[in-house]
């Protein structure tokens, strides 16, 4: 991963689980973050001892329960005492409620809450950015436009100036019966008119046209993405989520993802994700901070 210059401060809400604590410890020891672990201090200390981690490398802060821990983490970010907020052993819904809170939350004004991840798979020649496999179930046109914007932004942070974004469907044909195909056609025209900037966009495209260089020639479909996609935008959570999980399960995929639309980076991972995945997410959040 890219070398990071600054030591970012991360506030972890209900930092009770082993994977989270271990990932945080690794990042602290690597020198790119300082961490505040919010929760039950004695429980945190116990987990540290069990894992052979020195709890003194962290700042511990007391909270009564998961919701309280979430609001405390958000408060630290709002008061500029933290640069990044991370979810610990809490259900995503509870945690996001604190983020989304109208008065005390962390949302940018009028922003769409969404999620983008970077996926590394040996079978593909570069990183693939996927959206939105975690937050928006059935994005409408405006949400898709926001998703594209976030993914482009993230790709740019990784040094890709004008990422190729494939709007994914089951076919490359436009059909008025598929809302996704209609939305994608509108987005492509917007990109053509520079209303969506800094990308090379095409869709609808199937995965083969998006990621397989031979496919365009074989199918006789001309597309500027042409098997070289940086970003895959999916029509629904139910299509993108199984996609990335399938790649992790069957194609040795590694991911790092981030919530977007917030004033400061928010790291949300499944409670059962591995330590290494959480570590990558922490690193990603520092890149985006």
């Amino acid at each position: 991963m890219i070398a990071l210059k600054k030591r970012h401060r991360i506030a972890v809400a209900w930092a009770h689980d082993t994977n989270t604590i271990a990932a945080i410890a690794k990042a602290v020891n690597k020198g790119f973050i300082d961490a505040v672990l919010i929760g039950n201090p004695s429980e945190i200390r116990k987990t540290c001892n069990d894992e052979g981690i020195d709890y003194k490398i962290f700042t511990l802060m007391e909270a009564d329960n998961e919701s309280h821990a979430s609001t405390e983490a958000v408060r630290l970010a709002k008061e500029d005492k933290a640069d990044i907020v991370m979810k610990g052993l809490i259900g995503t819904d509870k945690f996001l409620r604190a983020i989304l809170n109208k008065e005390n939350g962390l949302m940018l004004p009028d922003a769409v809450l969404s999620y983008v991840c970077a996926l590394e798979i040996p079978a593909y020649h570069k990183l693939l950015f996927i959206t939105d496999p975690a937050v928006i179930p059935f994005p409408d046109l405006d949400q898709k436009i926001a998703m594209a914007g976030y993914a482009i932004e993230m790709a740019q942070k990784f040094g890709i100036e004008k990422p190729k974004i494939a709007l994914i469907g089951a076919s490359e044909k436009m059909s008025r019966h598929f809302e996704s195909a209609v939305d994608y056609s509108i987005m492509c025209k917007m990109a053509e008119k520079n209303q969506i900037k800094n990308c090379i966009m095409d869709g609808p495209l199937d995965i083969f046209l998006a990621c397989d260089k031979q496919c365009g020639k074989i199918k006789g479909v001309k597309t500027p993405v042409d098997g070289d996609a940086d970003i895959l935008l999916f029509p629904s959570l139910e299509s993108s989520n199984p996609f990335y999980k399938g790649l992790m399960l069957f194609a040795d995929g590694k991911i790092a993802g981030l919530i977007r639309g917030t004033k400061k980076p928010v790291v949300v991972m499944s409670r059962n994700e591995s330590e290494i995945s959480k570590y990558y997410c922490i690193a990603l959040s520092c890149l985006m901070a």
Binding site: S185, K189, M190, V221
Partner: protein
């Protein structure tokens, strides 16, 4: 292959085989003149269906010599239209033209399920203009028939018009999907339809043409205007076909071109088995004649 003016249109049909044109309810002062002129110019072989005595009376008052012209005597208007339409579906005529009868009545017969001229396609109005201030003829659709076309309708309208232009010798006519602005605006359906039609054209789902849009009228017809706005488009400034968002703006454009720009115009209905000439009393004699020319050129 591009038509610069109505003379070029005439050159397409000059010297070719004469098309059979059937005039329904032919006892009509307003349409007979144009039909007879086209006959004398060897463009068409007319068949007049209507009140024979009245036809002769109109012709003699106008000094039309109709010796040798085929007339089928039919006194009842509706019956004369039915006869005319059946001649077309019976492959005895290549063009249907409206005489002394309302458009709605004629079209009802055209759409008759048993003996009509249905093809399963949407019927649409196609107008071809010659304007002094544009470098070639320009087609406009649909200014008179489809009131508020949906995307599905617009696809049919484009396909009808492109097929017609193909028959006029245009291999890849340039189609501008018009809007009030050239950017996509979620509140402006015309701009969204333009995006969808562009994509369908890109994916070869609408063939034999180049579609771009949304384009505002000035960008569509003026390369300079398009360049001033930084618009990069294969169609801008070089449009062959203007696709109108709805009938109101289409009809207003049509009439503005005729009244303010003194444009020449030819119009036909597409989508039936044969081109249909539906001139109205307010059309000039030249427009009626040019419409017959267009119908003859547009025949398969």
């Amino acid at each position: 292959m591009v038509l610069k003016n109505m003379n070029d249109l005439k050159r397409l049909v000059d010297g070719g085989p004469r098309k059979k044109l059937v005039l329904a309810a032919a006892n009509d002062q307003h349409s007979l003149g144009a039909v007879i002129r086209a006959w004398k110019d060897n463009i068409i072989d007319p068949i007049l269906v209507g009140d024979e005595a009245e036809i002769h009376s109109i012709c003699s008052s106008n000094n039309y010599d109709i010796t040798g012209l085929r007339i089928i005597d039919e006194h009842e208007t509706e019956k004369s239209v039915e006869t005319a339409v059946k001649m077309v579906s019976g492959k005895q005529a290549d063009i249907l033209m409206k005489g002394k009868i309302g458009s709605a009545t004629l079209l009802r017969c055209v759409l008759n399920k048993e003996w009509g001229l249905r093809t399963g396609n949407l019927l649409s109005h196609f107008a071809l203009f010659e304007v002094d201030t544009y470098q070639k003829v320009i087609a406009v659709t649909d200014v008179a028939m489809n009131i508020a076309p949906t995307l599905h309708d617009k696809i049919a309208i484009v396909n009808n018009s492109v097929a017609c232009l193909n028959r006029l010798g245009y291999t890849m006519p340039k189609v501008a999907v018009l809007g009030a602005v050239e950017m996509v605006n979620e509140n402006m359906q015309a701009t969204l339809d333009a995006a969808l039609l562009s994509k369908m054209n890109q994916r070869d789902q609408i063939k034999n043409c180049i579609i771009d849009g949304p384009l505002a009228f000035d960008n569509a017809v003026s390369l300079e205007s398009a360049q001033l706005k930084g618009i990069k488009s294969e169609v801008a400034g070089d449009t062959d076909l203007l696709l109108m968002p709805d009938i109101e703006v289409g009809n207003v454009l049509y009439k503005s071109l005729v009244f303010f720009a003194k444009a020449k115009v030819a119009s036909i209905i597409l989508g039936a088995m044969v081109p249909i000439v539906l001139t109205s009393r307010s059309d000039s004699e030249q427009a009626k004649f040019d419409s017959i020319l267009l119908a003859a050129a547009a025949c398969r």
